[in-house]
Amino acid sequence: MSQFHLFSSGLELANLVVSSGVLYHSWAAVRDLYSEINQNEQQSLSVRYKVSQQPNSTTIAFFTWPACSKDYIIQGGGGEDLVSSSTLKESFPLFEFLCTKTNPQFSINKAALELFASIRDSLPSLKSQIDNSKVLIITGNSLGESVATLFTLWLLESIDFSITKCPLCITFGSPLIGDNGLQNAILKYPTWNSCFLHVVSDQDPIPRVLISPHNPPATESASQTNVYKPFGTFLLYSESGCGCFKDSQTILELLMATYSKGLGNQNPNQVLELYIKIVEFLNRKVICGDATGLLQWTTPPLRTGIIIQLVAIGLMRPQPQGQNNGLDNLITKIEKQEMELVMSKGLGFNPSKTLNEIKINMAFFEWYKKCFKEKGIGYYDSFKNGSSQTDIEVVKFKTILTHYWEGEVDEAEKKPQKEGAPFRTGWLGAGTNFRRMIEPLDIAEYYNKGLKDYINQGRPKHYKQLEQWLKETEKPASNLSQLKKQNVASSLTEDSCFWAHVEEARISCKLLSSKESSTGEKELSKHNLIHEFENYVLSLMKNHEVSPEIFLPQSSFMLWWKEYEEIIRKGIMGASYYSPLTDLMKNRSYQNYATGDLEIP
């Protein structure tokens, strides 16, 4: 890897954003809205919005009026206050979906949230105007953009990315809106993060006011972690050009470093004028060459790329011979971050490679399973008894496989269906195979500890998920049962929890034959055995869904049968108790199951 040069593509991405015309397009929508409301000035702060439909796209623009100044955000009623998601839970639960186990809480700027809440009643009607076949742009002016951002966030919950194209939320000089909790919630799903594009001029103070430590939180409760953090991509602008940045630490540093204090705290309408100029300027400039002067020609491409980006955002003048105005540290820092990004992407390069390695482990496992079968005990009971050297080997493979699948399920869960990651059939097939093969061993360990009710109380999450996903993809049963019947000997039991049912049945038997159990317990056990377990086993056999290994002489299932037979003999189940399953077990016709010659009515 290291013999290859790396590159930084922020400048090219910024150029694509500009040349694609989305900035121009979305700014035009804001301007239209602005011209409409210009007449009735000086109302109290309120949100306006407008939906405009074009042949291939829908644009929703938000506008707050009157346009607000830097002072408003800082002093106008505690503009930097945050509202925590736990407070919102009752009053305004629209963003609850962002909370997860690993990231349970986040906070949003209070002023922005209040503005958004003021249009709460209009949300359904706004949403109904979105046409899924078109691309969607959401935009607004400074505080209106906070509303646009929150609106986009709210939409994300209901978007199915496998059928809908990602919306794009473009803001012009928007203040930061949330804390690191919000940042983490969005960053976790790269697709979500890619929906946000923030355009920031080097002259605009507003996007910078909420950055600590220049504006430390006023309230005491706000700790150091409770400060504003950026998310999405930032397109930083200066007269020399523009560049795109994604890393949040870099963004915070660059936002501060590039501020030229051009506007100060003057008429907020100037901010509007400023972005009009910027968009028009960039639009013209996109076909012009950049004015990068002399760099040391031995500078490697990544560093060169970063330097010309910093030149573009106005942070430095082109300098010959590596005189970088003392920005060397910053350049090196960005360089390191970019390198890490590329590397982490490179690692996840080929998931099928690891899957194949895991399949090799499964092949070993399958082999051990076969060996146990030949010993007449079955791998479930062999493992449960922990008697042989091979069982220790099995633990090793089990650990590797469980570790892998736990991780895989975690990863897949992080990207819920919303993020549009349909599982590859091969992947789920391997997962199902793993579940059917390995889960019995977890069950064995569980009941060895003397615990009860594995299915409801002990079952690990990754098994539940894998089963759930299989159910979601399952097609109607095929008509190949004839063949399935013939080959039942070599297949795995389909319900990976089969052995848990057997263990529960044995516990029921124990309760029934014990003198200490209450009548209630006995009745329940009877019910469980007859109505649940017997029917369960019978239906599995009918559909050839259980491996004939369960009939191996030393298996737990056969032990259960011995215990049950004894109970029946004693008449505990009632005089001359009879059922299809007991009949089948008594006359030993189950022996024909493995060869597919057993017919169950």
Binding site: I308, S352, N356, L483
Partner: protein
């Protein structure tokens, strides 16, 4: 005789280039009835076919926003991505023009065959859209004559100010077939024509008519002044070219920001991509030559970019005028042709990123001067460098394939196959029963190989391997050997685990891409119809028929399929592509086959050395 070096070991006579150039322009002005003109020249060692251009909007954009369509695979069977099995795209109007006027033109075919039989160097040439016809004619020649007749003289295609013609698969396929070096495209620094198709018709609709009017040499122009629409036309085409170049550059640079994908939804990007060798004329008697398609795409944008806004009107005019200056410019260039005037850009990844004058290396000074003449900024140089780096990285990916590991696994499986045979059971059946330690070891080796090959397939799907990969004999042979040896084990595994129960038959749903791809490689290399090399799926066919004939309907409805399978088996065994172990007494095939009605009448009995043992 002077010549122009356009690549390693490839030089072209400058007289021929000039001759072709003047003929290409001449083709336009001839009476409009003629769809090509023919000239024998160079002491009759060359035959030059030149094609006229066309100048109505429909001759450029027919239908789609960028006027592209699927390639006609009957005429151009190689123009696809083999493993992925995706067709190339080509400009619809150009292809239609070629089909209507050239490929069915008996006179043309006769002349081409005559020249070929006389072992002359055939040169196809064209100016403007005529160049696109020349390109298609060249590929048609390569497909029709060159592939089957290795002794034929290689053709040459020279275009001047020619629009882009095909998409990335078009370019990929020509490089895979090693045909790309036969195409030399001359492009003036500001000539707008080679860039037009980077813009969708919607963005230039207003200006396109008057611009075409101006570009058409046949039209009676009022003056030589450029039309007033030139400015907007130039800006719109360039804006789109800029989108395409930036999007491509992000990809070249290994961009990690998903915003790129989101942006792709918001902007229509041209599908066209260059191929072949490009000779950029700087306009001051210098030539810059390169053949990396990614780099050429970047150059198409950057070389005609503005230095500053003020020069826009001027450049817009030049962007039209330069379309007619190839003859003069090349004449000027060739009168004094030395190393400083024709710069070959090869190791792009080592390109100087800045026009730093501190170096004393004369090579770098020359390259710097040439890049400066094309107006390339540091940003542009970074893009070229990234294009070179990507090429290098693809080669690196190929070299990183663990052949040693694959070889060890293959050797094990070959021994496994032999030892199975010694024990009286083919490896398919032995593996399916899976009884001994050896079967287990074989399974591990099978999975090792699957890992290696799946990785190769994944890289091919992302075009992360060199374009030539799927055409390299070494890999085709290796793939075929792998497929013959290991696919039966995959099939055995599939039916052993009854995967057909969950999904469908192996060939329909279960067959891994690593076998589908390698089969297509072989079929393409040997020019066989798709699906004809399915011998490695023999066992799956057997299993599926076994299931079918065991159903209630019995043998009768599947008689034809059974007969077909028998015939194929015989052919494959006689051709030596299917191992004879399928005929072993206890094989799944024989056990099933003997149960069919009247096995003695079957053609299986005709297989040499086959004797049926009584069932």
């Amino acid at each position: 005789m002077a010549s122009l070096k356009v690549g390693e070991n490839k030089e072209i006579n400058t007289d021929l280039i000039q001759k072709a150039c003047s003929l290409a322009v001449k083709a336009h002005s001839k009476s409009s009835q003629k769809s090509y003109i023919l000239e024998k020249t160079g002491g009759s060692s060359y035959v030059i076919f030149s094609f006229p251009g066309y100048w109505s909007e429909n001759d450029w954009y027919d239908g789609e926003p960028f006027g592209e369509t699927k390639i006609n695979l009957d005429l151009f069977p190689s123009l696809r991505s083999i493993g992925i099995d995706e067709h190339a795209k080509v400009n619809k109007a150009f292809q239609q023009r070629f089909v209507d006027k050239i490929s069915r033109n008996q006179d043309f075919i006769k002349e081409v065959e005559k020249a070929k039989n006389e072992r002359k160097q055939i040169v196809f040439t064209g100016h403007s859209t005529g160049g696109s016809i020349a390109i298609l004619a060249t590929i048609w020649f390569l497909e029709k004559y060159w592939r089957s007749d290795a002794s034929a003289t290689s053709p040459l295609c020279l275009t001047f100010g020619c629009p882009l013609t095909g998409n990335h698969i078009f370019s990929h396929a020509l490089r895979r077939e090693k045909w790309a070096p036969y195409f030399i495209h001359f492009v003036m620094r500001y000539d707008i024509v080679p860039r037009i198709l980077l813009a969708p018709i919607s963005s230039i609709k207003q200006e396109f008519q008057p611009i075409l009017q101006f570009l058409n040499p046949k039209s009676s122009r009022a003056s030589t002044n450029t039309p007033p629409e030139a400015l907007n036309f130039y800006m719109n085409v360039m804006k789109n070219a800029s989108s395409v170049a930036s999007h491509a550059a992000c990809k070249l640079m290994g961009n990690t920001n998903l915003l790129l994908e989101t942006m792709a939804n918001f902007t229509a990007l041209s599908p066209y991509k260059p191929f072949g060798t490009f000779v950029f004329c700087t306009g001051n008697r210098k030539l810059v030559i390169l053949s990396n398609p990614d780099a050429v795409l970047q150059l198409l944008f950057y070389s005609s970019q503005l230095d500053n806004e003020a020069e826009c009107p001027d450049v817009a005019q030049r962007s039209l005028q330069q379309h007619f200056s190839y003859g003069n410019e090349l004449k000027d260039c060739f009168t004094k042709l030395d190393a400083d005037h024709a710069v070959l850009l090869e190791s792009l990844e080592k390109l100087p990123l800045s026009a730093d004058s501190t170096t004393t290396s004369s090579d770098i000074t020359t390259i710097n001067a040439a890049l400066k003449d094309l107006g390339l900024s540091t940003r542009a140089r970074l893009c070229l460098c990234a294009a070179g780096e990507l090429e290098k990285r693809k080669i690196g990916n190929k070299n990183s394939i663990d052949l040693k590991k694959a070889d060890t696994a293959m050797k094990y499986l070959q021994e496994y196959q032999l030892s199975c045979k010694h024990q009286g059971l083919g490896c398919y059946d032995a593996f399916k029963i899976h009884k001994s330690d050896k079967d287990f070891e074989a399974n591990v080796n099978r999975l090792e190989l699957a890992g290696i090959w799946d990785e190769i397939i994944e890289m091919l799907k992302n075009y992360d391997l060199p374009d030539a990969f799927e055409g390299e004999k070494e890999w085709i042979d290796l793939g075929t050997k792998y497929r013959h040896l290991v696919e039966p084990l995959d099939i055995a595994n599939y039916y052993r685990h009854l995967k057909n129960n969950d999904t469908e038959g192996y060939t329909k749903k279960g067959r891994p891409k690593r076998y589908r791809f390698t089969q297509r490689w072989l079929e393409h290399a040997q020019r066989l119809p798709a699906g004809s090399c399915g011998e490695s799926c023999f066992w799956a066919d057997v299993e599926e028929l076994r299931i079918k004939t065991s159903s209630k309907e019995g043998y009768a409805p599947f008689k034809d399929e059974v007969l077909q399978l028998e015939e194929q088996a015989m052919k494959w065994i006689n051709d030596g592509v299917l191992d004879k172990d399928v005929l072993m007494e206890n094989s799944t095939f024989m056990v099933w086959w003997k149960k069919q009605p009247d096995p003695l009448a079957s053609c299986i009995n005709d297989i040499e050395g086959f004797t049926i043992t009584s069932a």
